[in-house]
Symmetry: C2
């Protein structure tokens, strides 16, 4: 039976009462944390998850979702008619894993081996805004930006020294940016020109927004 496989973890686990070890048992398997990342802005369908994680094959995704459902990270839900499709969503507790993702990302951005030119999913891009936002640089600026990555759109709001990002319609934004997550990252973090982006509305707002972020310095690798 399938349930046995999910719960029979004989030998493969850490036998360690440390919370960190238990955390690794929950989200330490390959791909699991990236699935959490992709669900962080709301439910997704099986196929959408596959599309945003190109290296992940269908059978492994099935296994991961089963395991995550069994440990209470994820719920499988049917959208109400007329959609009537099945989606996967994080539980409240699963969504509370965001600080882990943030800390991991913040730390790894300092790695000498980090290659920022690889593909980037929309959810990654939005999460990185939350992680890398520098309230000191933003001061008391207030702005609302829309981002459209193909069919997915997000609204990012800066106000009172904090930043929020949500999946939402870009209707009321001061400026709307259309393009790929990679192009947005290259502009905001790379400091280059806004190549490959279509910008509708108050362009200078986006320019100012880009000044609220700075990649941390690379770590020296050979220091003890």
């Amino acid at each position: 039976m399938k349930l046995e496989k999910v719960t029979d973890r004989s030998g493969r686990w850490y036998d360690d009462a440390c919370g960190t070890a238990h955390g690794l048992e929950l989200i330490g398997e390959r791909w699991t944390l990236l699935v959490v990342r992709e669900l962080m802005f709301g439910p997704k369908r099986f196929g959408d998850l596959r599309a945003s994680l190109p290296g992940l094959s269908a059978n492994v995704l099935t296994q991961r979702l089963e395991g995550m459902e069994a440990s209470g990270l994820v719920v499988r839900r049917k959208l109400p008619p007329p959609a009537s499709v099945q989606v996967y969503d994080l539980t409240d507790w699963g969504r509370e894993a965001e600080p882990i993702i943030s800390e991991l990302g913040r730390w790894a951005a300092r790695s000498p081996g980090h290659d920022p030119t690889l593909p980037l999913s929309p959810a990654s891009m939005m999460l990185s805004f939350r992680t890398m936002f520098d309230a000191r640089k933003a001061g008391d600026a207030e702005m609302r930006l829309g981002f459209r990555f193909g069919p997915e759109s997000f609204v990012v709001e800066v106000a009172g020294g904090s930043l929020t990002a949500q999946r939402a319609d870009t209707g009321e934004a001061d400026v709307v940016i259309l393009g790929s997550p990679e192009a947005v990252a290259s502009f905001v973090y790379g400091g280059g020109p806004p190549e490959g982006l279509a910008i509708e509305g108050r362009r200078e707002v986006f320019q100012g927004f880009a000044g609220f972020f700075e990649l941390p310095p690379k770590a020296e690798s050979a220091r003890g």
Copy 2:
């Protein structure tokens, strides 16, 4: 050659510019983060690492240490004579992974499936103090506690609403606790009597110290 194996990650990696994904490439392999945890309080020898991670076999530990050295997490160092033994130590950057360990532990402690009766290493115990310390509960208390787990000893200091824990001689402590990490955890987090512990010095200081910690409430597993 061996170096090729370490760097040839073709196909097995995430191809994702997100910092989180890169972080998983660095510390996402099985055991890696637990090795970091064990080194968090200072260098250790190969055999000491094995002893504190019972499920980890020698060949896998060798592979992990090689990978961690290659990515700049760990340095291999020879202690000066007369010790003249080889030890592994975290780099500064490697030590900065502590927030990841903390967040993961804090989050996982809320898991319904967490079993706090499993074995616990001294380093885990000390890290959990750093993670779970509640400054509000400590107020302006000041104290210095020594912990002796077999050959390893630590000093924990509470002062000014913050807690520090280091590997150090227990000489100048107000109270010294001798026993197993499991017994300490059971007393501090479980709220039971101090069974299996020998307490030298001001017993009431340890009692008060235990009041500075509280496990967070378990998460509801079936909520979206």
